[in-house]
């Protein structure tokens, strides 16, 4: 008892202080380290029996609030998602040029219509004709450039998904290995390993919306909020991505792997069969979710808008309407000669059956069109779409039409008959024919109509775009392929002279061209998204402006969302930082305290030694 005990206590004090010093020095040294949480060590008294015999080092613990950490991870995923969206939307917005600038899409459209204005006034002037064709060329190449850029962004997103998936795999592997080490020594609760594991999880949460569940044994399991299990505590999931090197407008995601032409993320465990993560919507936030949304929705829609614009430009100038001629009957009806119908051209029939108005759209095809064509893609979203093959035997065609009509609306509908190249609908047993009209595409610049195929689809042998569905919708990627009709470039007077005997100064055709773009309203597919899920009706030039506006607004919206998300993230970050970060002042204060304690303990030892000396000299 006595002095030796005091000496022991002082020594234990020195040891403890040194240990605390060690913690403080680590804290100070790691003040800026990623994933480092402040450590604290509480000294606890050493008991010998029921007597305090000194002090010993307590458990080194991390100052961590699990709730804040969880929230931080969610906000981090959210901020990465919105950040990515804002970044891509911003790039998309930039593609459309500076307001009023020479490269802006609307300026180019305006320049084109303006060149037509001049042509209306000076139909005979070769410079006015050249200007129209030049501006049309500029417009076509601008659409192609925009389209290329949109596909460039998609390709970039595809590449980034691949990188992100690789990174996620690395992180999951690291997490698994750290987790293994933690489990190996269940009794040693090493804050360093825990920090390391958390750091990786944090990094993973930037990629996807990961949720961590900490187990009693110190292990952790990871899953996305939508239920994709990433790490079960033993083995991480293996994510793989079969990315494509270049994306084109036709590259589309599909849950059917046979038709899918872009990469998808597959999650597999061990040697098991993989699950399509994108098909099941298993990643809902984080960078990866943002990239997927961009690649498969936002950018696809932007491409569709450009395609619709290209199609509108082309067809507004080349399409003409044919109204059915009356058949006196009885039974009365209407008929149309379909000799000039091009694949993709449509005939619309409206009739009343049992007091209900029904509409059908016949889409001309040469047999290569898909069986199902969305009604919104061929004009009238409320109509029943029936493929119509003009070159098939008459009986086959009429049977197919009757069957489709009676299947959809019941028997008794109008009766179709074909004689020669004329399709006739006459009143059926419980129906009367209302209107019957067709939209056909003029393919000859000198065809005698004011309509003109000014633009052609360079991907289909420079044929005018007719809305064809042969071998898939020709609309997809049209913006990339739109070109000025080479036949017109060779015969520029055809901009004015639409028939024999038409004089060089005749403004009829130029006026039609100008009015078709600036005055005549067309309907644009709901897929372009300019009117929610409805058809958007506008002039072609109006559509161009609304597209630019749509992308501008989308960019602004994304930016605002991102700003909001960042505010939320900053708030949670600062809270987390306050809770877990190293505060140098605090550490310095601790240092002073430790220095004092060390001095005091040393002083006690000196006193004990003096007292022992005194005792020895006696």
């Amino acid at each position: 008892m006595g002095l030796m005990m005091a000496l022991n206590a002082a020594v234990s004090g020195l040891r403890t202080t040194q240990a605390a010093m060690n913690i403080t020095s680590q804290n100070v040294a790691n003040a800026n380290s990623a994933g480092y949480t402040r450590r604290v060590m509480q000294p606890i008294q050493q008991l010998a029996g029921d007597q305090t015999s000194g002090v010993r080092t307590g458990e080194v613990s991390r100052t961590l609030n699990v709730l804040t950490q969880r929230q931080l991870r969610l906000e981090l995923a959210g901020a990465n998602y919105t950040g990515l969206m804002a970044s891509y939307a911003g790039q998309l917005d930039k593609l459309f040029g500076t307001p009023g600038g020479p490269g802006a899409l609307d300026t180019i459209v305006n320049d084109f219509t303006r060149s037509l204005q001049t042509l209306v006034n000076e139909p005979g002037s070769s410079s006015a004709r050249n200007a129209v064709l030049d501006q049309a060329g500029v417009l076509a190449s601008q659409l192609a450039r925009l389209s290329d850029s949109v596909q460039g962004l998609r390709t970039e997103a595809e590449g980034q998904i691949g990188i992100a998936v690789d990174r996620a795999n690395e992180l999951l592997t690291s997490i698994a290995s750290v987790n293994q080490r933690i489990l190996a020594n269940p009794n040693v609760n090493d804050p360093g390993l825990l920090d390391e594991r958390d750091r990786h999880i944090n990094e993973l949460s930037a990629l996807m919306d990961v949720q961590a569940t900490y187990q009693r044994d110190g292990s952790v399991t990871l899953a996305t909020t939508a239920g994709l299990s990433l790490f079960n505590g033993m083995q991480p999931v293996k994510l793989s991505f079969d990315g494509r090197s270049t994306l084109v407008p036709q590259s589309q995601y599909s849950t059917d792997s046979a038709t899918r032409t872009v990469g998808t993320i597959t999650a597999s465990y061990g040697n098991g069969v993989g699950t399509d993560v994108i098909a099941n919507g298993m990643i809902r936030s984080g960078e990866i979710a943002g990239l997927i949304e961009m690649r498969d929705k936002t950018l696809v829609q932007a491409q569709r808008q450009l395609d619709e614009l290209a199609a509108g430009m082309s067809r507004a100038l080349s399409d003409y309407r044919v109204d059915g001629t009356a058949v006196a009957g009885p039974p009365a009806g209407l008929e149309i000669n379909f000799a000039d119908m091009q694949p993709g051209n449509t005939m619309s029939l409206e009739y009343t059956q049992g007091g209900v108005t029904r509409r059908i759209t016949l889409v001309a095809t040469e047999g290569g069109a898909p069986a199902m064509i969305a009604a919104g893609d061929v004009g009238d979203p409320g109509a029943l779409v029936i493929p119509f093959n003009p070159s098939a035997p008459a009986a086959t065609t009429t049977n197919a039409i009757s069957t489709a009509m009676s299947t959809a609306f019941g028997a008794g509908g109008p009766v179709p008959t074909i004689s020669g190249l004329t399709l006739r609908f006459v009143a059926g047993s419980s129906s009367t024919v209302g209107t019957f009209s067709a939209v056909m595409t003029e393919t000859d610049p000198a065809g005698g109509r004011t309509q003109i195929p000014l633009f052609v689809d360079s991907g289909s042998g420079n044929q005018p775009f007719t809305g064809s569905f042969e071998g898939g919708s020709h609309l997809t990627g049209l913006a990339q392929r739109l070109a000025v009709n080479p036949a017109l470039l060779a015969e520029r007077h055809r901009l004015v002279v639409y028939d024999t005997g038409i004089m060089q100064g005749d403004a009829t055709r130029p006026r039609f061209l100008l009015d078709s773009l600036t005055k005549t309203t067309r309907s644009f597919s709901p897929a372009a998204g300019l009117n929610g899920s409805g058809t958007f009706s506008s002039t072609v030039t109006g559509f161009a402006r609304r597209t630019v506006e749509f992308q501008g607004a989308a960019s602004e919206h994304a930016k605002r969302l991102d700003e909001g998300q960042n505010v939320a993230l900053a708030a949670i970050e600062s809270r987390y930082s306050e809770e877990t970060g190293v505060n140098i002042d605090q550490e310095m204060a601790q240092l002073v305290q430790l220095q004092t304690a060390y001095g005091a303990n040393a002083r006690v030892m000196t006193a004990v030694r003096d007292m022992m000396d005194l005792l020895m000299r006696m």
Partner: protein
């Protein structure tokens, strides 16, 4: 922007982000100040981007309208100038006719005719005018010169006949007979004491018709035509007439213009070289009848030359200039000309078609160049060289230029009739189409365009204001914002630096 994983313990992350964002704001403000533009993308314009887009489209359209107006104004200016000159040429021709006498030059034309020829040539140039390759008076056929050359119009080219040949054919048809003997398709006969004048049977659409015959005194019995064909009038000299007795024969042409031939009985023979107005009373009634026959034949011949020939020239010229490729009917005389039975259609291969421009009758001349000067405002600014007013001037100058005269009393009279007709046709009379009307219609369009342009200028400045409000930034505002941001940034730097220095480390 991907966000790096959070590093707890990195104290400066939040403030660092703040600095970066403030720096970005500052850079953006600087851009605003230099460019005067609020944003460099449509996204940055905010909610009002729609205004910007729509205004820019409107502005482009207005620019287009203004260009159109500028171009058209120039074109109309040139057209009206040419039309005014054309009108002036007609007036000058009138003055020539009024002032100059029948004074022949060596080639059988007068000064007035020489002038007319030069003027015709000038008219061809005026009407063939173009502006930057666009023919002004060809309607929609802007790539073609609307008029053939003076030479071709007048003389043809060997296969196609010109105006002179057509006038000559028509003249032969009107006068009938061998050159110098034509009586306007009439014939006279003497049988004993009776002088008979008759038309051909059937009546040709040329030459004279006989409307009546009368005589004063009691010795000559006049028998007017009875209504049958051939029309026949006769004068039977039953006794010697007294000096001063007259016979009168009333004639009309195919267009029912009346002419009268009056011969007075005279004791002396008719004056040589003068127009026939008398017949000599002979030794016997038979002699007197022979004298009357000779005088009447002479007088009718002279009447045909002085009245029918100028009218034939005028009608031919008017028909020639009214002809269009799609309407060539009744333009040529059926051969043989001197005994022609009527008119026939010309073809493009046998007759010069003087006008080669736009002839579509379904569209008015003005409407061949509709100019859109605003959304729904279309002005008609076209003109065609074959408009009736211009045709008229051409026909009159053509008649003068195509006719030649001999230095005789008869031709002096023919010249008088010719110029009188030309003068009348060039005068401002209710029925005459006027070149100045075309010019004034164009001038009205020009005035409307000017008013429209002013309106465009007003809307343009309004749009600029609106655009400025949407796209632009006020320099003052941007400068103020920069100042405020600068203060803020400086204060933040200061505070951060102070805070970073305020560490316990420094005091240990």
């Amino acid at each position: 922007m991907a966000i790096s994983p959070f590093k707890p313990g990195s104290l400066t992350r939040t403030s660092g982000t703040n600095f970066v964002s403030m720096r970005n704001d500052l850079a953006d403000l600087q851009r605003q100040l230099t460019t005067g533009q609020r944003a460099d993308t449509y996204g940055g314009l905010g909610f009002e981007r729609r205004t910007s887009l729509d205004m820019r489209a409107r502005l482009s359209a207005i620019d287009g309208y203004k260009d159109t107006i500028d171009q058209t104004t120039l074109r109309i200016k040139m057209m009206t100038q040419n039309l005014e000159r054309l009108s002036k040429l007609g007036q000058d021709t009138k003055s020539d006719i009024m002032l100059a006498k029948f004074n022949l030059l060596s080639d059988g034309t007068t000064f007035a005719q020489k002038n007319a020829e030069q003027r015709f040539k000038e008219v061809v140039d005026l009407l063939n005018a173009d502006l930057a390759g666009r023919s002004l008076f060809a309607g929609r056929a802007v790539d073609r010169l609307p008029m053939e050359s003076f030479e071709l119009i007048m003389n043809g080219d060997g296969t196609r006949d010109g105006l002179k040949q057509m006038i000559s054919e028509r003249t032969q048809a009107e006068l009938g007979g061998a050159p110098g003997t034509g009586m306007g398709r009439l014939s006279s006969a003497l049988a004993g004491s009776a002088v008979t004048l008759s038309t051909e049977s059937p009546l040709p659409p040329f030459g004279f018709r006989i409307a009546g015959a009368a005589a004063t005194g009691s010795t000559i019995l006049a028998t007017p035509p009875g209504g049958g064909i051939p029309q026949t009038a006769s004068f039977d000299v039953t006794g010697q007439p007294a000096v001063g007795d007259t016979i009168t024969i009333r004639l009309t042409d195919a267009s029912n213009n009346p002419f009268t031939v009056t011969l007075t009985a005279s004791a002396s023979p008719p004056q040589s070289g003068a127009l026939a107005t008398t017949f000599q009373i002979g030794a016997s009634t038979t002699d007197t009848a022979a004298n009357l026959h000779a005088a009447l034949t002479q007088a009718v011949r002279e009447k045909a030359v002085t009245e029918l020939q100028p009218r034939a020239a005028m009608q031919t010229a008017e028909a020639f200039f009214a002809a269009t490729p799609s309407n060539l009917a009744n333009l040529r005389v059926l051969p043989p000309y001197a005994s022609s039975a009527g008119m026939t259609a010309a073809t493009a291969t046998d007759t010069v078609i003087w006008y080669t421009g736009d002839t579509d009758p379904t569209i008015t001349a003005r409407n061949t160049a509709p100019v859109r000067v605003d959304q729904g405002q279309v002005l008609a600014t076209g003109a065609r060289a074959n408009e009736p007013a211009i045709q008229n001037v051409l026909a009159q100058l053509g008649v003068l230029a195509a006719s030649t005269f001999a230095d005789t009393k008869v031709d002096a009279e023919r010249y008088r009739v010719t110029t009188e007709q030309v003068f009348g046709k060039l005068s401002d009379k209710p029925g005459n189409p006027k070149v100045s009307d075309i010019a004034s219609e164009l001038a009205t369009a020009a005035a409307t365009m000017k008013a429209t342009k002013d309106r465009h200028a007003a809307s343009e400045s309004m749009i600029f204001d609106a655009l400025d409000g949407v796209e632009g930034v006020s320099k003052e505002e941007a400068a103020m914002a920069i100042m405020a941001l600068q203060n803020q940034l400086q204060a933040s730097y200061q505070t951060t630096s102070m805070l970073s220095r305020m560490s316990l480390v420094n005091y240990l």
